[in-house]
Amino acid sequence: MSIILLIAVPLLAAFISIIFKKIATYLLVAVGIFNLVVLFIAPMGVITIGGFTPPIGISLLFDTYSQFSLVLINALIIIIALLNCKSFNKYSGILLLAMASLNGLLLTNDLFNLFVFLEIAGIAAYLITTSNKKPLKTFHYLILGAVGSSLFLFGVVILYSMFGTLNMVDMIIKINNTNNYDQLILPFTLMFIGLGVEAKLLPFNSWVKGVLGKSNTLSGPMIASVYAAAMSFVLGRYITNLFMFEGNLLLVVTVLLSLGILIGEAMAFQSTKARKILLFSSVAQASIIALLFVNGVVIWAVYYIIAAALSKLVLFLVINKATKEVGNDNLDNLQGLFSNNILVGLTFTLATLSVMGMPLLVGFVIKLNFLTQLAAASQIWLVVIILVASVVEGIYFVRMLVKLWYKGKEQINVKYHISFKIVFVLVAAVLLVLGTYKAPLDNYDSTIDTVSQEVINNG
């Protein structure tokens, strides 16, 4: 079983689903499960395609890093598809396309190939956001996404003209031999911005407000949880291995990301609508994740992505479902949402506490560990920034929780289907178990990303 099936099978299934619309959802679930199985039996390492040995031809890199990300993304897509199989049954083909492209993004070892997958993933994302019924916002997303991926392509073109290769490992070897970082600033900046648009980094992310602020139970979790996680993983891989920021570029990137954290939390603090609060909080999270990768805290950034994706799945599902039934997402109109939904309220609260980094939940373990690593690297200012932001974050989340638990003038009634509740409970259980029993997290360290190992092997 080769890992290439992870891209080929969903892509094929996406075409089949156009013809056999009725079985599309089943096909999606079957393909997803097939992907998960392949992920555990496929051999790891560099996989060449078409018999061309690297650096010629396209190759894939399958290591623990991509395994983590792929398991997360395929599992989440299955869950989201199943939860929405009634209300959004026409989107299965698009979800298959999204699955194929995101798998490709996370596996490919080729920069141009990455651009191709970025575009396909973008197209799938634009189509998913059409379910918001806000065409103008989707159009904005499309424009910005296109600009972002063009900038990425521009950066790749410059690198290609400088080094004559598109293979990432080969490129890193050649870059290491040149020792002239100044020339690389332009391509790296362009690529960083390109990926940053998709990864929701401030200030390249103005599409987020329109898209997630009007999201539903399909587009909300898909964009905020699946796409955010996938893009953070991709960005993380490139920051850690290819960009290796230094000098001015490091300074600018650090300042941008720090501002992203602080302003993101401030924007969430200022918002009174539930979806806005969640989306601005994920803007801040995306910046924290990127900042961790910039500082080489790989493993805890990976866990952070996973925890954020899981919690945001619950948060967006709960809020978007309630919004649909209540009619709007003003916190004041959602008051008392949980008085009749104790279980949903409990899981929502646990997910929120995890995002806030409160003890007994996995968010706390992750936060404490990455802060420790930052402190050990003498990055005390970053620690301070993240902690100050977390005070603001804590306050608006508590404000939200208190509103949702205690009813206002009138009682609202939102019914959650049992399938939603199962997902919520499962996610809350994972957050709680890993928060109290962290031994499994210690099994891995930052060597799960094997690109640098490949560089040594080939260089």
Partner: protein, 607 residues
Amino acid sequence: MASIEYLILFLVGASFIGYFLTKLNTTVGSIFTIFATMFVFASLSMYGFNMNLETAVNILPGFSFTQTYLGFYFVIIIAFIYLMVSFFHPYYVGTYKYKDSYNMLFLLSLAGILGAFFTDNFLQLFFFFELIIWTTMFLIPQGKSKEAAISYFGFSVAGSVALLTGIFMIFSQTGTFVIADGLQGLSGSTSIVVFALFLIAAFAKLGAFPMHIWLPIAHGNAPHPFSPVLSGALVKLGAFIGILALVNIAPSTGMFTAINLPIGQYIVGILGSLSIIFGTLMAIKEDDAKKLLAYSSMSHGGYILVAFSLLDSIGFAGGFYHILAHAVASAAAFMAIAAVARATGTTKMKELGGIIHKMPITYIAYLVAIISMAGIPPMGGFISKWLIFQSVIDKGLIFIGIAVFFGSIGSFLYVFRPLATLFLGQEFTEYKKIKEQPIIMLIPTVILILMNIYTGIFPAAILKFINNIIAELGYSTLTITTFEITGHNGVLNPAVISLVFGVGVVVAFIIFILLKKSRKVDLMDTYTAANFVHDEHLLHYSTDFYAPLERLYEKQSHWMTTFYEALKQKVKDIGRLGKYLFMSRNIATAIVWMIVVVIFLLIGVIL
């Protein structure tokens, strides 16, 4: 042997059992909570005083515990307050919206308390701190106001974030998270920053000036049985952090040689004095009995800070004794008010009066508590204030001295107001039918009355234990005999004072018996300004009791609230600015930012 680890696990387990029992039946769940708390308190007091608790960890991965006299002193006081308060649960929890979670979070927060004071590691300290914060944060909105939880949480988290920043600064300088090693290894400017950060945490938790505004909001609006926990137990976490910083960190600031105090400690002493003064002034103004007591807690937090900033063993003894005396007194006072609120449904003094006729034991509990708070013999508060005064005077600290005496006099002004209006004032018709507390609630009330008196008459046993703590902190111990305490410039014999006091009471009582009985008339059997009084509320004189005094500072009393409101507004403004700059409807803005970043970097390369 009682193991700390098992006690914590027991509480965690008990909290879940408590949840399900409360779900089935509120009373059963609450009684279970009483027994669970009692078990923990009994195990602690059985083994803890001799440092015989088992610290080994078998099950919890990554945790390590140690027992110190300092930590145990806090734990036993807090566990005692928790136990006392738990007796109130059967009568209150049933009325709350999420009653099943109330007992659960209550027990879970006690587990956090045990961990916080027994751990030897900074990260675990932070873990337990945050655990206490979020478990208690969910208890507060079950009371009167939902917003109270937000301000409590905001200040607590700000404090714990300051603590964590300090911890990481210690870590990056010394490379260790072990509390003892970390504090000792500090040097240079880092020690000043860590000192300041730890004190921010202490001030935030203690509710001391200038981080006090959450205190009246949270205490005043928390569920009635939770206010005594907040005031008697949880704010003491701040005192603990304050002690770690004030005693164990020697910030490399200069010294005031004339008073032999480092500048850092002196500043804390001054801020503590400000807490005393502002707490007293605000309490004088307050009409709500619980908020009044909250401001009194603020002022007592100031006493604790002053005591530990003196770096003197008599001062330390006073501080430690004050922690106990205030915990017992404020718990008794808050619980008395809680009992009154349960019977009448209000805590506003102008709506209450004459409760003594119906609830005499509650009245005695409150009376004893405020005597202790005002620092009058024969209650515990007198002993601690005597020790603190001794030390302040001996050091020759004039400003702090003025503040501590002002606080003592001022507390006469405010603590007697609830007594006079709420308990002694005119009895209203609407309260003619209320009854004394039920017997289960009287148990803790009576115990607290006895504790207040015991701490005032026989302090020797407690001070001997405090001597252990002082020795542990590396200071010389106090001279204590069975009946006498030796201060800097005098010897105190609390038993004799109490005896004289008791004789005075007996003499007064004899005179009362011997003198002619006064005729008992009905409340309305009077007239004033040639008019018949038709409504007993008109005889109530609690509103604007100290109006002339209040007028002196009524304009200034909102300054800090305004400051924090403005701070909140500023964060919102930044958010609004961020939305304007980066989240514009016009997508060209985002593209402009991309271009700006690229150009900025390219200029950097060219230059």
